[in-house]
């Protein structure tokens, strides 16, 4: 008598593997409840049991070969595919593009014996615990669980410079400043300059310097004069060897901008800290949110954006 198709997926063992796969991929990964290496391996072990069973059901639907032959073919194909995906960058790249991100990690091959276990488990006939409808549901759920891999959960975390004081009034201008770029090549400061009066305020940034632990990094070029009615945004790059500063332990600095406005001049000044939370990675269980849509009413005119030639990049000293 021909067995009902998909009976192997509607068994306690297959349901358990499906549960482990789903819970691990979509709840445990990134939750911090279990260590990352463990959640990484759990999916491999559950998936390498479940996928041969799914493949066996699909092969059974097409071929009428002996049960043993189909079981071990499914296990062998799964092992071969998984090994190639985990060891070959080109195969991994192709599969990741089609299937979703898959890590190239040889240690995941530790889970390969699960395919053999699945093959051995498939050989004897299994009693299905359900009827045709539930078997169909089990098939669809298993196929979806095997196809829907969880997205990568970690992003690299790097040190960042931060301003201690972000908002100041100079003459008729209100200047908000923040660090928009921070890396080995230097620091970039963004300014939002607005008039603090009802009428326009002419603003000119005459000079800028960041003193990094006693070493002065000048602003390579003055930005064009500003005449903000509505707020305008300016980018001030301070190129220097920030990697060297970090390695030498220079992790505090002072930003000074000399500003002239139509109602007097002054300085925008703030202390800066180069901060790192001490971990190389941060968990990012959710996809990063898209940046807010640009607000057309306050966008910076292109000619007021600070642009420099690459040759302007200053040296450390």
């Amino acid at each position: 008598m021909r067995r009902p198709l998909g009976a192997e997926l509607a068994t306690p063992e297959a349901f358990f593997a499906l549960l482990v796969l789903c819970v691990n991929d979509h709840l445990l990964k990134g939750s911090g409840l279990l260590p990352g290496w463990l959640t990484g391996k759990l999916s491999d072990f559950a998936g390498l049991f479940l996928f041969p069973v799914l493949l066996f059901v699909m092969l059974s639907a097409v071929f009428s070969a002996k049960r043993e032959r189909l079981a071990f073919t499914a296990a062998a194909l799964t092992s071969l595919g998984f090994t190639l995906v985990k060891l070959s960058p080109s195969v991994n790249g192709w599969v990741s593009g089609v299937w979703g991100p898959m890590r190239l990690d040889a240690s995941d091959l530790a889970a390969l014996p699960m395919t053999l276990l699945a093959g051995l488990w498939l050989v004897p006939r299994r009693e299905s615990i359900s009827g045709a409808t539930l078997r169909a549901v089990a098939f669809v759920a298993t196929a979806l669980a095997c196809a829907a891999t969880s997205r990568p959960m970690t992003v690299r975390n790097y040190p960042k410079w931060q301003l201690e004081k972000s908002s100041q009034h100079v003459g008729c201008a209100k200047i908000d400043a923040w660090v928009s770029k921070s890396g080995k090549e230097g620091v970039g400061i963004n300014l939002r300059v607005a008039s603090s009066r009802s009428d326009r305020c002419n603003v000119e940034i005459l000079s800028g310097v960041i003193d990094v632990g006693g070493k002065r990094v000048p602003l390579p070029r003055r930005p064009a004069p500003l005449n903000p009615g509505a707020p305008v945004f300016v980018y001030l790059p301070f190129p220097f060897d920030n990697e060297r500063a970090w390695n030498e332990g220079r992790r505090t600095a002072r930003l000074e901008l000399r500003v002239k406005t139509s109602s007097g001049g002054g300085f925008f000044a703030s202390e800066m800290q180069h901060e790192w939370d001490g971990e190389a990675h941060v968990w990012s269980p959710r996809a990063p949110e898209a940046p807010p849509a640009p607000d057309a009413s306050v966008s910076a005119p292109p000619d007021q954006a600070f642009q420099l030639e690459p040759s302007d990049a200053g040296a450390w000293e």
Partner: protein, 201 residues
């Protein structure tokens, strides 16, 4: 004692120590941020990694002993500890979820001991070797020395992941051709690569 020592260095686990050196990521400082109004530090790009790895554990292999004198080859196995130190590089930083940290490219050297060797009544040959690895593939070459019988000779192996093929030729005695598996743990010390194009790693 010999047999106990042979299994003394088993995989004790894999540890990764992140060092602070070169910690900042890379940016294009002279280019404006994509979103001028976003009050956040832009995500830095990955500068890649450098690492020093200590790999330790047991090598277990079996195959044939092929005597130099005309004679039939016979079954053979060799099991013993091995310790390797590697300097490795990665174009992109590793994933902390990965249990095994594998450099894109690495070179270094190691020492090992075929403590349980069949055939043979001696303590088994010790060996020193240089190693080059590219991805999961690796190649070693060195020299083996059998203390009891004062035999020595070249020792080479080629591996992919934990699997390897090893040939040790003890001059005046014969060759050992083994296929085996490495059971190794690793302790890694990882730091960020320096700015692109800089030799200061």
């Amino acid at each position: 004692v010999k047999r106990s020592l042979a299994f003394g260095l088993l995989s004790l686990g894999c540890t990764v120590q992140h060092l602070e050196k070169n910690a900042p990521g890379s940016i294009a400082v002279m280019e404006k941020p994509e979103n001028m109004k976003l009050r956040e530090v832009e995500q830095q790009t990955d500068p890649g990694e450098r690492m020093l790895q200590l790999r330790y554990g047991a090598m277990a292999a079996g195959g044939f002993f092929i005597p130099e004198e005309q004679g039939k080859s016979q079954g053979s196995y060799g099991i013993g500890p091995e310790v390797t130190v590697l300097y490795g590089t990665r174009k992109y930083s590793h994933d902390d979820d990965a249990f095994w940290l594998m450099p894109d490219e690495a070179f270094g050297g190691g020492i090992g001991w075929m403590a349980l060797l069949e055939p043979g009544e001696s303590v088994g040959p010790v060996y020193g070797e240089l190693e080059y690895a590219s991805g999961a593939a690796w190649l070693t070459g060195g020299w083996a020395y059998e203390i009891d019988d004062e035999l020595h000779g070249p020792h080479v192996s080629v591996g992919f992941g934990p699997l390897f093929v090893r040939y040790t030729h003890l001059l005046d005695a014969g060759g050992l051709l083994h296929f085996g598996m490495a059971f190794k743990g690793q302790a890694s010390f990882v730091w960020n690569a320096s700015a692109r194009g800089s030799a200061r790693d």
